[in-house]
């Protein structure tokens, strides 16, 4: 054990740091998916597309900023602006024109509609940004690297991934928890989530809540993508990976749990990055192994309350 640690200690440290940064990104996307599902009762398969489009839009905006000769620090707010734009431009029309028509439909039809949307958005990305890998590492280079002391040695790691990503994820977690528990709009969203009919009977405008929640969810996914864009090359297919992974997170956590989603994202993020460094062929499989293992023992998820026959 000690010998193993001497040999692989640094690798393990790197895996933990990497896993933390990755978990922060996964959490951002999964929590949006969770929020939308809680209110609309629709699993939005196109949520992964919002992530991908957010990432591509951030890359384009950063490239535009660099081309205009604006100061390099502008790359950081550009990530946020890109995400907000994507959410605001795509969210409301999709909710109002498409999803609103199927709220009373069969669950199968609802799934198929968002799946169709996902197919459309996947090709739209290829049409706009092509199939060649796009990179956007301005924001990451800007913040430089930090030497992290670990087991008597140091690991150089980017400050972007070490500080910024976890900080944004924690701020989102705290902000969302505060918003849902302490503000009127938040309480209204919780009310609609708990009992749509009763909430509507009390005079809550469910339509407005749906629109608002869906847009917020789309923004969270796009923000996840925008924040992820400096850390990875953008290629077609990241949308599909993301939706499956975020679903794995919220299924493992239990639908509708925000803090639970954060812990589960951490678990799955760490699991995946440990696999990346120690058993690369298991990289993609790892999150699902965790999910299946959890679901076999607790079908309602780690933090979900048992609900008869919902899942």
């Amino acid at each position: 054990m000690i010998d193993w640690f001497h040999e692989n200690g640094l690798l393990l440290g790197l895996a933990l740091l990497d896993g933390l940064a990755y978990a922060a990104l996964v959490f951002m996307v999964a929590v949006g998916l969770n929020l939308v599902f809680g209110v609309l009762r629709i699993l939005n398969v196109a949520h992964g597309s919002f992530y991908a489009i957010g990432a591509y839009a951030a890359a384009s905006l950063s490239a535009f900023i660099a081309a205009q000769g604006l100061p390099p620090w502008a790359a950081l707010p550009a990530l946020l602006v890109a995400a907000a734009l994507v959410g605001a431009l795509l969210g409301p029309p999709i909710e109002a024109l498409l999803l609103r028509r199927i709220y009373s439909g069969e669950p199968v039809i609802q799934l198929l509609v968002t799946f169709a949307l996902f197919m459309i958005l996947e090709d739209a990305q290829k049409l706009i940004w092509g199939v060649q890998p796009v990179s956007n590492d301005g924001a990451m280079r800007l913040l430089g690297t930090v030497d992290v002391p670990f087991a008597g040695d140091v690991i150089p790691f980017t400050a972007y991934q070490l500080f910024l990503l976890p900080a944004v994820a924690l701020a989102t977690l705290a902000g969302l928890a505060w918003f849902l528990r302490r503000t009127l709009t938040g309480r209204v969203i919780v009310a609609v989530t708990t009992d749509r009919e009763a909430a509507t009977a009390m005079g809550i405008d469910a339509k407005r809540v749906f629109l608002l929640t869906f847009t917020a969810g789309a923004m969270l996914a796009a923000l996840g993508g925008a924040l992820a864009s400096p850390t990875t090359a953008l290629v077609p297919g990241i949308g599909a990976q993301t939706i499956v992974l975020s679903f794995a997170v919220i299924a493992t956590a239990g639908l509708g749990r925000i803090e639970g989603a954060a812990l589960t994202a951490l678990l799955i993020g760490l699991g995946r990055s440990v696999a990346v460094y120690f058993a690369p062929e298991l990289e993609v499989v790892m999150p699902y192994i965790i999910m299946v293992a959890v679901l076999l023992v607790r079908p309602q998820g780690l933090f979900g309350a048992a609900e008869a026959r919902r899942i």
Partner: protein, 311 residues
């Protein structure tokens, strides 16, 4: 309409043979269409129970890879087909034991997740699967004979047509049996099914294994016809295509999937050049249009015409 089904099936088969004879280059296309129709028939069984699988292409991929692996050692079509079908069915049983505990979004997304795992394994284990390059399938013999190219194409076409008929008849009997009738009960109200003493999980499992078997047979036909298998067979887009064909064909009888598959493949052959980069987008839009404006699919449209002619 239901009574007319056998007659329509014969007429359809005659039309297919006629087209395959008149336009030899379409023989290949129609063989693939028949194979996909088989896989879609499986999707249709699950749709009857209100469940949609976004991962069923994995069973076709398993069937195809079994053929690719086994063909060099044992290149007899009449052995390869049952072998591939059996292994796909076995995998369907193992996965099904886990997955039939879940419904709706969980059912859909867990299928998607498992198929993505299979896809990445096919892609990653280069030493065995040759990664994205895929494997060339060795030529196969038919009952010991190794015919030249044109006869081999006819043989594959005949096998596909026979299997379509065989499985079509079995599926029809299955749907008419108490087991098949209970599928609709899962969709409307599962609890009542349980009250009557019908184990809903077993009912769904039977349909799931049956659908895996048919997808496996489809994969084996595709592998022997295209003579080349790649991980793309298991990718989510392929699964999406199957779901699309199921909706396009309509949920009428067992003919819907084949009607949908033939229409789909013929359109694809002619439109592929024009829409090569926009294929998913085109499918997505068409899927939305069918769901919103022609929920019965092609079968529904035909049935309406049929009734009008008789009236």
């Amino acid at each position: 309409m239901r009574r007319a089904e056998p007659l329509l099936a014969l007429a359809g088969a005659a039309a297919l043979v006629g087209i395959a004879y008149a336009a030899p280059w379409l023989r290949f296309v129609l063989t693939i269409a028949l194979a996909k129709g088989l896989a879609v028939l499986g999707i249709l069984l699950l749709l009857k129970a209100g469940q949609v699988s976004f991962g069923h292409a994995m069973y076709a991929a398993v069937g195809a890879y079994v053929v690719a692996f086994a063909a060099p050692g044992m290149g007899e079509a009449l052995v390869l087909l049952p072998l591939a079908t059996g292994i796909a069915g076995l995998l369907g049983l193992v996965v099904g034991l886990f997955i039939t505990r879940y419904r709706e979004i969980f059912f859909s997304m867990l299928n998607l997740a498992i198929s993505m795992v299979l896809y990445s394994m096919l892609e990653k284990f280069y030493a065995i699967t040759k990664g994205t390059d895929g494997i060339r399938v060795a030529p196969v013999t038919f009952a010991g004979l190794s015919p030249e190219r044109e006869s081999a194409e006819w043989a594959m076409f005949a096998i596909a047509l026979l299997l379509a008929f065989g499985f079509g008849i079995v599926a029809r009997l299955y749907l008419a049996s108490p087991m098949g009738q209970a599928l609709a009960g899962i969709k409307t109200r599962e609890t009542r099914l349980e009250f009557m003493g019908v184990p809903a999980r077993h009912v769904l499992l039977s349909a799931y294994v049956f659908s895996a078997v048919m997808a496996g047979a489809a994969g084996a036909i595709i592998a022997m016809t295209t003579r080349h298998v790649t991980p793309l067979l298991a990718y989510w887009t392929t699964s999406g295509e199957l779901v699309f064909i199921a909706i396009l064909g309509g949920a009428g009888g067992v003919l819907g999937p084949f009607l949908g598959a033939a229409a789909y493949e013929l359109i694809r052959v002619h439109a592929a050049a024009a829409f090569a980069d926009l294929w998913q987008l085109t499918l997505g839009i068409a899927l939305l249009l069918v769901i919103l404006f022609a929920p019965g699919g092609l079968w529904g449209v035909l049935a309406r015409l049929f009734r009008r002619v008789r009236a």
